[in-house]
Symmetry: C2
Subunit: 381 residues, 2 copies
């Protein structure tokens, strides 16, 4: 029996634990600070333990001697937990989406002999994998475009948006300057800029705008043009820009009635009410990666289209599914010893391993996540 520990039993961590535990080959223990999060795993064969995972010692104790670890913590706790797991010498797959650069831990993972698959969700995650595959499958990559969004099926005025991950992270996406590459140069533009309409199969026309999502891809993918944009129902970016430009998303305190107020704190309070997804409301996740490059004297376009909807049977959102399944598949591979190379691996660095890529794509298909890949010749180079 392979022993797997899941750190964090929230929406995504819970799905990972259930997925791994559904195979009798694995013995799964889930850790969380919240008793109610752990209680949602009652009645499964998953063991649960309460622990304060912001404490590195608690993390080391939790992972001691296990075969592999899935890290599914809030972003602000992620890097410290990943570091503690590496120090403990345990293989890990992470989807915490921490603000820090995960490659900063690469040397330490190599010296510890630990494989650490990071940013292993949908975007970052599968988007990285497709970029890595594009780089593998071309002689020279020219441009890569990533479009990604998680959206409600039913469009409700005025935002036409529901939360499928942390509100704090969404507002951070809408305010942090976005970095990408254009004609070989690093470009920084404000979030929510360069809004353009995009036709998405099975969905219709969405809008795409700049957000800061490329992370490791800016250093690992060698394409002169490289960008990621977020997808929303048309009109959303303009509304959020209006809130931001009026100051409602600012963290600078404003004195109101004699007390200091952080406008973003009030906006979070009000938008949480407006954006909370009603139980059972259907949502979907779209990821489209389009890469162009030269191959054997021709210019080719490689396209990956992922489309997933809420799973009516389990109630899991497509966002939880497409984020959690890649991590669940990766942690299984690690526990089975199918990937043992020491170092930090964002998914683009897994693209050269046919076995890992095959396991990820086959595993997603088996779980009902539809991914269509296409190659076309667009012009002779």
């Amino acid at each position: 029996l392979k022993r797997v520990v899941v750190l964090g039993a929230g929406l995504v961590g819970g799905l990972i634990a259930r997925d791994v535990a559904s195979d009798p080959e694995f013995d799964v223990t889930a850790y969380d600070a919240s008793a109610s999060a752990l209680a949602r795993l009652a009645g499964t064969r998953i063991a649960t333990r309460r622990a304060d995972l912001s404490d590195a010692r608690a993390v080391r104790d939790a992972v001691a001697g296990v075969d592999a670890v899935a890290v599914a913590l809030p972003g602000f706790m992620g890097t410290n937990a990943v570091r503690a797991v590496i120090e403990a010498g345990r293989p890990l797959a992470d989807i915490s989406f921490s603000p820090e650069d995960p490659l900063a831990l690469d040397a330490r993972a190599r010296s510890q002999g630990v494989p650490a698959i990071v940013d292993c969700g949908v975007a970052p995650g599968l988007s990285n994998l497709f970029c890595g595959l594009a780089q593998e499958q071309t002689d020279a990559l020219e441009r890569v475009s990533i479009l990604v969004g998680g959206l409600p099926a039913r469009r409700v005025w005025p935002y036409e948006y529901r939360l499928v991950f942390s509100l704090t992270d969404v507002l951070e996406e809408y305010t942090r300057p976005s970095r990408f590459r254009e004609a070989g140069r690093l470009v920084v533009r404000e979030a929510l800029s360069e809004v353009e309409p995009v036709d998405i199969p099975r969905v219709g026309t969405l809008e795409a705008f700049n957000t800061d999502g490329l992370r490791t891809l800016l250093s690992t993918i060698d394409a002169p043009d490289l960008k990621e944009k977020t997808l929303r129902w048309p009109g959303h970016a303009d509304r959020m820009r209006m809130l931001r430009e009026t100051g409602f998303l600012s963290n600078d305190p404003v004195v109101v009635g004699g007390v200091e107020v952080r406008p973003r704190a009030l906006a979070e309070e009000l938008l949480l009410r407006a954006w909370t997804r009603p139980d059972g409301e259907e949502e979907f996740t779209v990821l489209r990666v389009v890469a162009e490059g030269r191959r054997a004297g021709a210019r080719v376009r490689l396209t990956w289209d992922l489309y997933d909807r809420t799973d009516a049977a389990s109630g899991f959102t497509s966002m939880a599914r497409t984020t959690g399944f890649p991590c669940a598949i990766a942690v299984r591979l690690l526990a089975q010893g199918a990937f043992t190379t020491p170092g930090v691996f964002p998914p683009e660095r897994l693209a050269g391993s046919a076995a890992v890529v095959g396991a990820l794509l086959d595993g997603l298909r088996a779980r009902g996540v539809a991914i269509e890949a296409a190659v076309e010749t667009v012009a002779s180079a």
Copy 2:
């Protein structure tokens, strides 16, 4: 020499004082609590006095023995000041736009023998006058529509709006339910509702939406259909509805970071920054009243179109001009003894007095405010 007192020396009160004082026939004294407001009248022949005009005794002292009084105070102070002037037995013209029904003081004004012309600005004000004229000039009034707005000439994303009166009053307009009459019945709809495009001569297409502006007209004008809508550049109402429906305009406290915050107070702080009119930026005021009714067996349509722009020479906004001039003209008439009927008179009740109407319309024309009136036969009844 006729003695005129102006209570309130703000943007509009200052204009009224200057207008009346420009005629050597009048001796003008302006009162305000603010030394800086009074300082803007330095170098004119207007006498200035500081006084707390929320104190009825201070008002009575200020107006004792004068020939007429203009009341140009913030809405929340207006009614008390008007009452004090009536108690002091002095004729008055008022543009304070208080929330209370001014007709509640009618009996007292009659018993005191005082003429009190109230709501004597642009809307309420000239809009009331045109409604009164429509009622005078028809046998049976069928419908009256008032459209009014003060807007910046230059449209700047996202609100395309600048303050030409109090921000507090604008947000009150956007939140207070609007009352009007439809098929003879009182109707209440939420503010910012029933947005429709309207083509305005010399301007282009604006949007019109419900706000609560009819005031005395709901009791004085006998038309089965009677409505007033506010004009803005298209898109404004949707943005303000979004803020309101998200809770940003709510007066109900929200706990943020351990302290109670009134969202509207924060919104006022932020919108004040966004909506403050840069010095010298041009704005315009539009008022259109369209009335339909039967006259001598035919159906006629009577239209009044007012259009005014910032006065480059004086710097006065069209909103200050079209609000202040009617009040200035009225207070001159009162001081000259040209209107002495006791009672409270919103302008629709002046429509029967040809001399007063003539003085108002001639006076506005002389001050450069363009009003076009038209009558057309639309169908036989």
